[in-house]
């Protein structure tokens, strides 16, 4: 078994790494928190873009909600496969670790595919900033800017998470399992955070 060094307070190298990941997540909380606060104050306070005045037009909205709900299930499932992969890595089960991590990456890809189908439908209905529909309705234009800004930013985070997990998957064919367990835990914290962001974006962008 690999020896793990700890200081007099019991802090290991892994604990120090976790502090680094949590500090990074703190900056992400502030980024998405500020965006959501701005969005909510606009929806609640701007008479041109207030709840019950302007949100999604009826055209294509039912399909968009169904796709967004499907994406919620996909990301929650990917978080579940991520914790399974970390558990398997902790037990030294290389095959189980790789299988669950592969599922996590595949589910991330599925999220992106569903999102592109949804974007295609929106563009088809003229729901994008600068379209004739948006130019004729200032409130809708503001709403669409928030919608695309936040969902594209979130998608970038999904891509980064997939790259992180993909790198671990590549390395896990030969790397020592204790090391993979530690690294997958760091990647898992980030991946779960990406899931948490979507948990807030889904109801606030699609359901209110």
């Amino acid at each position: 078994m690999q020896a793990v060094l700890a200081n007099e307070n019991g802090w290991t190298e892994e604990d120090a790494g976790k502090v680094g990941v949590w500090l990074f997540l703190l900056s992400e909380i502030l980024l998405f928190g500020a965006l959501l606060a701005s969005y909510l104050s606009t929806r609640l306070g701007n008479p041109d873009c207030a709840l019950g005045v302007t949100a999604w037009p009826e055209a294509g909205h039912g399909a968009a909600v169904a796709l967004a709900a499907l994406n919620t299930v996909i990301l929650l499932t990917s978080s579940y496969t991520m914790v399974r992969s970390i558990g398997r890595a902790g037990r030294g089960d290389r095959a189980g670790f790789r299988k669950n991590l592969m599922a996590t990456v595949a589910l991330g890809a599925a999220f992106l595919v569903v999102k592109s189908v949804e974007y295609t439908g929106k563009v088809h209905h003229g729901l994008y900033p600068g379209s004739e529909l948006a130019l004729a309705n200032q409130g809708l234009s503001i709403f669409l800017s928030y919608y695309y800004g936040m969902t594209i930013l979130h998608m970038v985070h999904v891509v980064v998470g997939m790259a992180w997990n993909g790198t671990l998957l590549y390395a896990s064919s030969s790397a020592a399992m204790p090391s993979m367990a530690r690294k997958s835990e760091f990647a898992g914290l980030y991946w779960h955070f990406v899931d948490v962001v979507w948990v807030f974006l889904f109801p606030l962008l699609y359901l209110i």
Binding site: D15, K18, A69, I86
Partner: protein, 98 residues
């Protein structure tokens, strides 16, 4: 290996599965709640409360915050408190427009 590290690596898979099923149920509740016309403040409050419950489940169980060191909790809560201050700071502006 430290106590915290060991706890994170030895997972109870039945608990993880139960949390996952709970998250799926809360997703159904989120969509169902939107079918009721609750009024704008209640609609936002309901959406945020359910989302916060789901986020807590993910944080406590999937991100292992239950057995984590106080420093990680302090980092997380400093972010939540700062976003909370931002939201509270917006209230006077919103109140003037209602």
């Amino acid at each position: 290996m430290s106590e915290h590290t060991q706890a994170a690596h030895q997972r109870d898979e039945s608990v993880d599965l139960a949390v996952y099923v709970g998250l799926l149920i809360l997703t159904v509740v989120t969509v169902a709640a939107s079918w009721f016309h609750l009024g704008k403040i209640f609609a936002v409050a309901t959406a945020v409360v359910i989302a916060a419950t789901k986020a807590s489940l993910i944080g406590l169980y999937f991100m292992d915050l239950r057995g984590e060191r106080p420093l990680m909790h302090a980092i997380l809560w400093s972010g939540i408190v700062l976003v909370g201050i931002l939201l509270v700071g917006l209230i006077p502006d919103l109140a003037l427009k209602w």
